[in-house]
Symmetry: C2
Amino acid sequence: MVVELISVGTEILLGNIVNTNAAYLSEKCAALGLSCYHQSVVGDNEGRLEETVRLALSRSDIVILSGGLGPTKDDLTKEVTAKVFGKALYEDTHTKERIAGYFSQMRSGQVTENNWKQAMVPEGAKVVDNHNGTAPGLIIEENGKTAILLPGPPNEIKPMFERDIVPYLRSLEPEGIYSKMVKICSIGESKAETMVSDLLENQSNPTIAPYAKTGEVHFRVTAKAADEREADGLIEPVIRYLYRIFGDKIYTTSEEVTLEDAVVELLKENELTLTTAESCTAGLLAGRIMNVAGASKVYNEGYITYSNEAKERILSVSHETLERYGAVSPETAAEMAEGAARAAKASASLSVTGIAGPDGGTKEKPVGLVYISCQVRGKMRTEEFRFTGNREKNREYAVVRALTLLWEELMEV
Amino acid sequence: MVVELISVGTEILLGNIVNTNAAYLSEKCAALGLSCYHQSVVGDNEGRLEETVRLALSRSDIVILSGGLGPTKDDLTKEVTAKVFGKALYEDTHTKERIAGYFSQMRSGQVTENNWKQAMVPEGAKVVDNHNGTAPGLIIEENGKTAILLPGPPNEIKPMFERDIVPYLRSLEPEGIYSKMVKICSIGESKAETMVSDLLENQSNPTIAPYAKTGEVHFRVTAKAADEREADGLIEPVIRYLYRIFGDKIYTTSEEVTLEDAVVELLKENELTLTTAESCTAGLLAGRIMNVAGASKVYNEGYITYSNEAKERILSVSHETLERYGAVSPETAAEMAEGAARAAKASASLSVTGIAGPDGGTKEKPVGLVYISCQVRGKMRTEEFRFTGNREKNREYAVVRALTLLWEELMEV
């Protein structure tokens, strides 16, 4: 079944808010095995909204509209959709009572007149109670086409979707969709794709889709099947194939696991503790590791050492090394990692020193030059990177490369 | 002129990523005085993409497409748009050289074959250099219709849009649109809006549009005028009015200046140096301050102290304080800020300690409880916050609140 999303609201067209509802609904629909080929955003304008709804219904089975169900004159989603389906509106007693009840619970108490507009529903529509606001959800079905109207505020749409819309959509779709995500670090998107181009060309069920992330490539392997067991039978050979190609560069096959999750997990498994010494990334590396809930089990402290003086005093980088090789050098990176591990009494450490830009580059040491050292139980590895982005991108890549380096070293422990 | 946005990418339809590009482009187009009535998202599918491009060109003057310009077979935006305009593709020597240069700067060096696909451009198209990636931007014009093709990654599309697309769009629109951004911290969106509701209701030229950011509210004041001087005459009274209402909560009226920019600027002006001591934010605060190029002039070192032991040893937080009040307490926050300033010999310091979640909360100290201390030349201020988001949001808000606190204190110096 094909689903299509329409987000209604001038505030989205003006960029006043980010359309997170669409991302939420897309992910939920994909997980339910519904195909989504189109999403659109249209303002609170009768003519354009009607056109958009008609087009969506002509090419998709289910159209989910969000927003524009409120009490104001601007809110037209229900009126326009009812018109497209040729349905009149009537006052729904149950909804009217629910709205009255909602307001009686609030401190202000009185219902302004325009709120009763929200009790008007299209003939034959299923009314879905809103437990977190006034406007009800609505399901209109006719001639094999379905329109689902949902309120715009995220704290209303999400609980309503989970509670009532998911079971409704499940009942419509007998075929199951199952997917696994293969996540790869330390290899570029185009190179990764070249390596599996035969697989990408000859896919049908399961399908394989590459996603480029900063410093990572993810492949989603998706199968249509009657049940999970049949899906596994289709997906597993592809996963094994990807393992043969990318081998030890795959850090997870789980949707939820991030690179920092994988690193923290390996640290825990090996009963290691980590510390960080950052110059150009200045805390971003530590901040990302600590995204992982419970990372405090393997990380106690870290250092941001921008000045040479701080590198000497806190990390015991030798004055001579800084003089001779400079702050951005493999020698300094290694001493930073070593000194950090000693100061924090940690069994593993990462250090980053580099020139993020836009200033500070020279011919020998250009902007983007970054040295990363990784030390695990006394074994040191230092790598040189030459990033070509702006300040923000260089720092972001340095963080991913540092995590990748540590992950690789931890896989060898 | 009417502009329409098309975001290309199956990963958006699947909800793998939030469509932040659309919000960014919408806001920019609104600021340029362009009307936007439609946005759509379509996957990497030739037929559907073609249909979507044709529909958009039939109803809008300018169609901005983002995404689908990469090196892989999935990336079809250029090919499809060229087909719609009836243009053949040819290899652009300049772009080929630029791509070769991009790869030669990278350590891996070699360009995989599929990358050359990005040097193919439609006949007659304007090529816009990508300074942060390989795929160039493209502008195709014909019969009064324009398609602008931009790369999908936010760190590529944003600098390209600012640098080359804004001037191009300005050149199309003879009527001048001028705007100023008033950025406010430490006040909520709905409260800020209520405070200027009369202004928001009775606006025509200039218009005032509120934008909610994490922990901030921005008001864009936009005027249509023959020249900048006339525009200033329209905009300035509104800015003065906003200053009367929000007074010392406005940290800038410049589009480009961020809260961390404003903070670093004030530190420089006052010849202060800053250090940070972070627990739950674990480097994110320092990382954000160091976004500012040249922030190294005011920041030498910082500390990430997750464990109590680290708080004691590095920051000299007293054992008694930790025992008596706990790590998440105003007392610990204040001692962290004090100790950090002493250790780093800094004249200003910020500390953050809190429970980011999802675990670690108790009835007395729930998830989201965060204490932030700010010390400037010996003057200490500590604030309690109760955030209600998930781990990520709580940490993000803590960073903004810490910056806001420091900004407020620096304004009093």
